[in-house]
Amino acid sequence: MSHRGNCVHRGAHGDLPELSAEGVTVRLGDRTVLDSVGLRAAGGRMTGLLGPNGSGKTTLLHVLAGLRRPDAGEVRVGGTDLRSLPDRRRARTVALVEQHAATTVDLTVREVVTLGRLPHRGRLGGAARDPRGTAVVEEVLGMVGLATLAERPWGTLSGGERQRAHLGRTLAQEPEVLLLDEPTNHLDLGQQLRFLSLVRELGLTAVAALHDLELAAAFCDDVVVLDGGRVRGHGPVGAALTTSLLGEVYGVEASLAPHPRLPRQHLVWDGPSEGSR
């Protein structure tokens, strides 16, 4: 954490730390939600966390964010055990864009983004201990394209604007690792593409739980596929998302194929596999 600069946007080539998990197990009563999950999210790369509903994606993200203590296993950021970090230090290391973060409190966009400075301020708050705060908030507002909407009340924002404000709040934390829990839910296609492009351009170590395999194929470098709380596939998109894995986990006949116009893979599906759930 000694390399923390004055710039939120560090680019993909910085010495960004790897996020890794090993043997992460979470039980809820007698149900095993996560069963000895291990993963590596390489520094500066975007890792997609995939899997059907109820496969444990949100729980895993909460463990990776240090918000939930696993029954077994550990999470490391650049070699440091997340549990050894005090709360505020942890919040400067890992930030989470939640799935359904709604509010009835009428904050402005700038106030929401400024919340992200909390872990940088003194324990009793106050801007005096955070001299860079205002500049970082301004920079972040520009990065997420909300500079002109900074004074708008939360209640007047569209879904896409709200999601960008949430991203702005987490960026104001100046984290090394960014976690996103289905950030494109409830966004239209244009908003989904713009949002994920924005996240990619940040060049942070990112782990995003995604529902949409096509978006994962387009925006992620690597993927981790969860099913029933276990890792079923892990690796670069093209290698991990095999036809057999997609059939087993999602119950579909599908495969990756070269994009007709772009130098990347995209998802081609035929339909649900025969005799699938």
Partner: protein
């Protein structure tokens, strides 16, 4: 004033000055109003003489009315209003519930048990003067109810989840209410029921200098304490997970603030009864003016709550000759229309 205007530096400064001016003005006027009116110039003369600013010619009656009776009562109103309104703001944010009020954790109903035990059953405490028994019993009852609510709410976890805490508060309040009604119905003699009801609706009539200073002390401690948590409270806007991801120790913050608000609320209830609606409504009134950040919301709520109670108490002691109108009824009379307006506005939005 628009929220944007109020959030700018000058706007905020003006708002603070204006609010304090309204508060001081309200107190000055209230000192003169009552069963016997004292002109403002005479009020100031009494205050100046007492402050040692000169030998002003005031009558004994004027000094007695303004300095001995009304000033402690008004200071008490300021303190109780400030405590209830700021506690309401804290708890509404902490539980993310617009209907949270300072009595959320069963404090008022518990105090009712203590009060009814003294008023109806005549329970006493050896060594305490008669006037001190009622506040002491009310405070003890409030603490017992708080302990019960915390015990139920934190069973099997200890995180004081808002949903469980609200339910536990409701449950304990009903239990206390059952005791209170049984005691009043089975054992109440003469005007016991009327006296219990009067206590329940609250009154600042019993305040003298000693109790007023306790209340002012509690208000100062509470405000400083809550303000230290202002930014952590801001982080609760998007819920518990988001607060924790911002590095806020959610469970510890909840414990400290829930117990803290309950203790200062219990102090006000011991001396003034359970004055309703101030804590519920004032934060809602203040938010459109100063925004939702607690650094502004908490002091603004405190000042607005203080002004509301000064006027409600002035009305309580001067509307009807020779009789006190219950102050809780007056705050409800103001509070209910405001709440209805607020709900209508929210539905439209």
């Amino acid at each position: 004033m628009s929220p944007q205007g109020a959030r700018s530096r000058t706007g905020r400064g003006l708002l603070v000055l204006g609010a304090l001016a309204v508060l001081l003005g309200s107190c000055a006027v209230a000192l003169g109003v009552g069963s016997v009116d004292v002109p403002v110039t005479r009020v100031l003369a009494v205050l100046a003489r007492r402050a040692g600013a000169g030998d002003f010619d005031v009558t004994l009656l004027e000094d007695q009315l303004v300095w001995q009776l009304r000033l402690p009562r008004i200071l008490g109103a300021v303190a109780v209003g400030a405590v209830l309104a700021s506690c309401g703001a804290v708890l509404q944010s902490l539980t993310r519930n617009d209907l949270a009020d300072p009595f959320l954790l069963g404090v008022s109903s518990g105090a009712g048990v203590g009060a009814v035990s003294v008023i109806v059953l005549g329970m006493g405490v050896g060594g305490l003067a008669a006037g001190a028994v009622l506040p002491a019993a009310a405070f003890a009852g409030a603490l017992a109810a708080l302990a019960a609510v915390l015990l139920v709410a934190s069973a099997g976890g200890g995180a004081l989840r808002p949903h469980r805490t609200v339910l536990a508060g409701v449950a304990v309040a009903h239990l206390c209410g059952a005791y209170t009604s049984v005691v009043v119905i089975m054992h109440g003699q003469g005007d016991a029921a009327r006296r219990v009801l009067a206590w329940t609706l609250g009154s600042l009539a019993g305040l003298r200098w000693g109790s007023a200073l306790v209340l002012v002390g509690a208000a100062v401690v509470a405000l400083v304490w809550f303000l230290a948590y202002a930014e952590r409270l801001d982080a609760f806007a998007f819920g518990e997970t988001s607060a924790r991801s911002l590095g806020v120790p959610v469970s510890a913050t909840r414990w400290v603030l829930m117990v803290g608000t309950a203790l200062v609320t219990a102090t006000t209830v011991a001396y003034a009864g359970a004055i309703g609606f101030v804590g519920l409504v004032v934060p809602h009134l203040v938010r459109p003016l100063v925004g939702s950040r607690h650094r502004a919301l908490l002091p603004a709520s405190a000042v607005a709550g203080a002004v509301l109670l000064v006027w409600a108490d002035t009305a309580a002691r001067s509307l009807v000759d020779g009789q006190e109108v219950p102050i809780g009824a007056l705050t409800a009379l103001i509070g209910v229309p405001v709440l209805v307006w607020l709900m209508a506005r929210r539905t439209v939005a």
